[in-house]
């Protein structure tokens, strides 16, 4: 058990009364509740925590927040194993198990460090340049090795054991960030009565205020504000929640890490919750992010951003080093130097500016900080941690260092290159171009930030008091924009007096060159992707000058941290190479997510069996009770087959199909789309949407119809029955019920507004039972109460109404199997009762259950087209149905169906296919080739569907074949590239069974 050698005896916002044990790479450590993994590791003196992506260089903890580029670790194990988590964002919990990654065999002795020695050969884009030869296929060989070497960490392949959920939420004002500006804005907006949501990515409210010393002036202010917000009914505070994405119309994605701070989520709770927040107004109080300065060796463990060091001292009571050098170009790092010294470190401050701020310098020197003006860090030295820095005189005007330098031993180097406002969410929305603030040497939100309101440091205002005042104003403005009354006299009752305004301007400084003014090696810009300033220079030399090209060529900013600590430097360096200003280089587009977000959070509960809802027919439970197996067809669960003991699918459907042909079968067809069409113009309407005529259809008669799309391709088919003079009952295919309904509504609402027609989906209103087979009429006659079902009274395509066993029914004599058949419709609540009544009545007639697999085989025998032929690429003529198209009236698709290309004789046409060898087995999808021709390419057509035909006693298929009808009688080869089989098939008419339709009419 290691001791916490770097833990201060006082301070911090950790709970010193609650000890927490954790392991890192198998070693046991202790920390406190309130620590992050990063702070606990630092407290325990652990500096080396990771290896870099490409060169496997030793890396330590660089920041204290979500911008961390270095300290990526793998958390937990087993199914909860999660790579690439930022140690700076992991709340410490008892039993936490973290491991280093991207190293072998160990973090301390990583053999892949060889990449660092090979770095001259591994510059940006090296694989594009060096891995393309010597032959054209070389890349295929190299790719495997490159892909194996690439990547960070290893994801688990086990199922995620945790639960996630999505919640829709709404508010008037959403405030992102709970620093001084955010808190101030939230309080101001809440006072107007607006519904306010305050979102904070950390566990604690306070933002930058938490980096201030405990017990200081801001603590009282912070406590007051939090109490005020927590007491308000109209305020919701989301902690451990990151607004990762901003989308259209004020919609935001927020991931709340509900259980990530625990060993595992509590029982009955989710690990993460995705909030889909819709805010009328949004205040971005997202603060600013500190920038580094590049110099040789600037990636060594022990080098940290100065603001992060303050955070570790004041929030976590950790002193990251006892011999510190602070390197800065601005005032903010002086506070870090002072607090380091007050905590017991010996501190040297190198200020690149010619003159240090007088008061700050004096304060620093009072506590023992050695302040060096006009001084820069030339180089950091050390192997696995920083051991010393080389300091040199620095001329701010020329940007050059002097020839002489001196070495200063240290174990901590704090760097501050200035601060960049963090407005990623605004940038995600595009639209508003950021402006470049010369004083801050940073981009700030542009003037036309109409979509969001920005407050505090995110605007470029870095003093605390200014942030509080600005937040207050912006919060009121947000509420006002939501039409809440804002009293003019309301004062800023949220004053917080802090003297942290910068007194001297920042010196823009991006990289310290060598003494000779040349670029230096190992001067990293993007730490996570190992992009150096030399890579940027290379990109420029090779013509990748555009910021977008720079990004893609070097991969700068494309790591999981999105280059939060790198982008500004890169732009500045490219600007320098090109001799233009930074704004002229431009910036790349930020895209969601702001920080890596688990896929599980996006999926929420919609995973596994609940990925999509299932639609069940009214007879579903009956089928279950009778042993049906179900098939997902679209989102319907349909009775697939009813196996007898020992039967598989194949045996069951062959039996069911044969039984129906010899006796009678009962099939659940409730999934058919059903549309109620009513109105005085209903006949005219149908006449326009169907290819065939409808005006002459008598009442109580049904007709088969086909609809085309506007482009002349077949859209859907089905039967429509005239219920009354102005009332029709349309059925569609199961799959196209929705699209057909939408199309009909569209036509009536936008194209034919003059027609008095109403369409209503009644798919769920009606259950449908099909009985089919030679003895169907016998069964039906036994079921109906008061209906004459004789051929004379109920002929083919006739319809009647009445009752069956006391159940109201609508009976239509139609068939999909080619046998004598009826579809019996009843209101859905009676569906099961009707089904059972028919089933019971059929027992004497040997009525058999028939699933849709058998139904499919029967329709193949009969040669009916279905979804596998109505593909959106077939015309009426392709399907052999051109005679149905009326020549006496126009209809949708009638014009474009006459396009030249759709009339060509070599189009793929609907045909039947029968195996030449009766023992051969056919599968749908096989391609058709002429015998003797090489089976290359797409062939002349394909089998759309195949099945064993009990009638033909062999496999038959339907297919689409180029010039198919003219090929009837010829033999083709059905080539299945997956099974690697070639089966000779005879091209036939698609109507294998009862081609004259005598059975159905009998």
């Amino acid at each position: 058990m290691s001791s916490e050698i770097s833990r201060l005896a006082y301070g911090g916002r950790i709970n010193r009364g609650e000890r927490v044990s954790f392991t890192f790479d198998g070693r046991k450590f202790q920390g406190f509740c309130g620590d992050t993994l990063a702070s606990a590791l630092l407290a325990n003196g652990v500096r080396l925590v990771a290896r870099s992506f490409k060169y496997h260089r030793p890396r330590g903890i660089y920041t204290a927040g979500s911008e961390e580029p270095n300290a990526l670790v793998t958390l937990r194990s087993g199914a909860r194993h999660e790579p690439n988590t930022q140690a700076t964002m992991i709340e410490l919990f008892d039993g936490l198990d973290a491991k280093s990654q991207n190293c072998w065999p160990s973090l301390n002795h990583d053999m892949m460090i060889v990449n660092d020695y090979l770095s001259p050969f591994l510059s940006a884009g090296f694989y594009y340049k060096t891995m393309m030869g010597p032959t054209r296929k070389s890349w295929m060989f190299y790719e495997h090795f490159i892909r194996n070497a690439a990547g960070m960490g290893v994801a688990t392949t086990e199922d995620d054991p945790d639960q996630y959920e999505k919640v829709n939420a709404f508010c008037d004002v959403m405030v992102v960030g709970s620093g001084p500006a955010g808190l101030s804005a939230a309080c101001a907006a809440a006072k107007t009565g607006a519904r306010v949501v305050l979102v904070e990515q950390s566990a604690d409210i306070g933002g930058a205020l938490l980096s201030e010393p405990v017990g200081g002036a801001c603590d009282a202010w912070l406590t007051q504000r939090v109490q005020e917000l927590e007491a308000a009914d109209n305020v919701q505070i989301l902690k451990r929640a990151t607004v990762f994405g901003a989308y259209d119309h004020g919609v935001f994605g927020i991931v709340e890490r509900v259980g990530d701070h625990l060993k595992e989520p509590l029982s009955g709770t989710v690990r993460q919750r995705m909030w889909v927040m819709r805010a009328r107004q949004t205040v971005l109080a997202t603060g600013a992010q500190e920038r580094p300065i590049a110099f040789s060796g600037n990636d060594l463990p022990g080098i940290m951003l100065a603001g992060a060091v303050r955070c570790y001292i004041n929030q976590y009571g950790v002193l990251p080093g006892r011999h510190a050098v602070v390197f800065t170009n601005n005032d903010s790092a002086y506070t870090t130097a002072i607090e380091l010294a007050e905590a017991g470190a010996d501190v040297t401050l190198a200020d690149a500016r010619t003159l240090a701020p007088t008061e700050l310098k004096s304060r620093a020197e009072t506590v023992g900080v050695k302040v060096l003006e006009a001084t820069a860090v030339l180089k950091a030295k050390g192997r696995k941690v920083i051991r010393s820095v080389e300091l040199a005189d620095f001329d701010a005007d020329s940007g050059r260092t002097g020839q002489s330098s001196k070495s200063v031993e240290c174990d901590l180097l704090c760097v501050s290159g200035g601060w960049s406002p963090s407005f990623h969410l605004l940038a995600q929305r595009g639209g508003s171009k950021p402006a470049f603030d010369q004083n801050l040497a940073a981009f700030v939100p542009g003037d036309e930030t109409s979509e969001f309101l920005i407050a505090g440091a995110a605007t470029g205002q870095f003093d605390t008091q200014g942030c509080v005042e600005n937040g207050h104003q912006v919060g009121r403005e947000a509420a006002k924009l939501c039409a809440f009354e804002v009293s003019d006299g309301a004062s800023c009752a949220v004053e917080l007096e802090m003297d942290d305004k910068w007194s001297e301007p920042l010196l823009p400084l991006w990289e310290i060159l060598g003494k000779d003014g040349d670029k230096v090696k190992k001067s990293f810009v993007d730490l996570q992707h190992d992009v150096t300033s030399l890579d940027i220079a290379l990109a420029h030399r090779e013509g990748y000058e555009s910021v977008e090209h720079l990004k893609r060529y070097t991969t700068l900013g494309m790591a999981s941290d999105q280059g939060k600590t790198a982008n500004m430097q890169a732009l500045a360096l490219m600007a320098d190479h090109r001799g233009v200003s930074i704004p002229d280089v431009g910036i790349t587009t930020f895209r969601p997510p702001f920080t890596p977000t688990a896929i599980g959070a996006f999926a929420g509960k919609d995973a596994g069996a609940t990925l999509v809802p299932r639609r069940l027919t009214p007879m579903h439970e009956w089928h279950e009770r009778h042993g049906a197996r179900f098939l997902e067809t679209g989102i319907w669960d349909r009775a697939w087959y009813y196996p007898k003991p020992g039967e598989n699918l194949d045996a069951a459907y062959r039996r069911e199909a044969a039984e129906l042909r010899s006796s009678v079968g009962i099939i659940d067809v409730s999934t058919l789309g059903k549309i109620d069409v009513q109105g005085p113009d209903a006949a005219e309407f149908l006449n326009r949407v169907y290819v065939n005529g409808w005006k002459t259809l008598p009442v109580n008669k049904a007709r088969y119809g086909i609809m085309l799309r506007d482009d002349g391709m077949v859209f859907d088919d089905g039967t429509t029955t005239r219920i009354a003079e102005d009332h029709y009952f349309m059925t569609t295919t199961t799959a196209s019920a929705g699209p057909v309904m939408s199309k009909l509504e569209y036509l009536l609402q936008t194209i034919w507004t003059d027609l008095k027609v109403q369409v209503t989906s009644v798919t769920d209103q009606w259950a449908a039972v099909a009985i089919s087979g030679p003895r169907a009429r016998d069964v039906l006659a036994r079921v109906v109460d008061d209906i004459d079902v004789s051929n004379e009274h109920l002929p083919f395509m006739g319809a009647v109404h009445g009752t069956a066993g006391g159940i109201p029914v609508r009976i239509i004599r139609i068939t999909f199997t080619g046998e004598l058949g009826y579809e019996i419709y009843t209101p859905a609540g009676y569906g099961e009762a009707l089904w059972d009544t028919v089933y019971q009545a059929g027992e004497g007639s040997d009525l058999k259950l028939c699933g849709i697999e058998a139904l499919g085989a029967l329709r193949i025998e009969k040669g009916h087209v279905a979804g596998s032929e109505i593909t959106g690429r077939t015309t009426l003529d392709d399907l052999g149905l051109s005679r149905m198209g009326s020549t006496k009236k126009p209809y949708i698709g009638s014009v474009l169906a006459k396009r030249e290309a759709l009339l060509e004789s070599d189009r793929q046409q609907f045909v039947g296919l029968k195996v030449v060898d009766p023992k051969a087995v056919l599968k749908g999808g096989a391609l058709l080739f002429e015998p003797g021709k090489p089976p290359h390419g797409h062939g002349l057509g394909y089998l759309s569907v195949a099945a064993f035909s009990p009638v033909m006693d062999c496999y038959v298929a339907l297919g689409l074949l180029s010039g198919g009808r003219a090929r009837e009688g010829s033999v083709m080869h059905a080539v299945d590239a997956i099974d690697n089989t070639t089966i000779p098939v005879l091209v036939t008419s698609p109507h294998f069974y009862d081609p004259k339709g005598e059975k159905a009419h009998g």
Binding site: K166, V167, N168, F170, R240, R615, G679, Q758, T760, V762
Partner: protein, 200 residues
Amino acid sequence: MVEVRSALVSMASENDLRPVIERPDICFQELPVGDLVSVSAWPDCFVDVSEKVSGVLGVKTPETYRVASGNDVHTMYMVAPHRFLIASEVQELSVSLLPCLDGDKGTLTELGHSRTRIRIHGPNARALLARGVAIDLDPAVFPSGEFVQSAIHHMWLLIHNVSSEQEGDAYDVYVLRSFAVSFWHWLVSSMELLGNETSA
């Protein structure tokens, strides 16, 4: 006469025809639909038909697509231009309404078997629905008496806020019958995670 079978009968306890799940913070139960019809009028007949239908039902004609109007027996929802969905606690609604359309003034379609009605009520009713529906359910925005047509997890819904002082937050949700079991499963699984928020 054969009983109308609930789509959720398999979710109900033994001997019950309709399912109920009760917890102190939330309750949902299937209620009988009674009858449900869609009444549409041609644009030039809409006012006339509306008045007649309102007269027959004793219900004020809804004026917006958000506010339902009704009495103890009938509820009228204006679900589309010139179109009402009318729910009733009694059967045979179409018989009494068809005369309102005499003279080819519109159409009537029976839909009583096409929907399942589930009442969700209790202090967490809103939180439960918020897990699925992208509608602001805050009473200030969506007060009692209002309804919306929306979807949860791809399932079409009509949600009617029927909150009252006696019952507190309460919503009648109409779901297509074929989705009823899936929706019930969604409710149950969402409920299991309710009330355990650790930081919200």
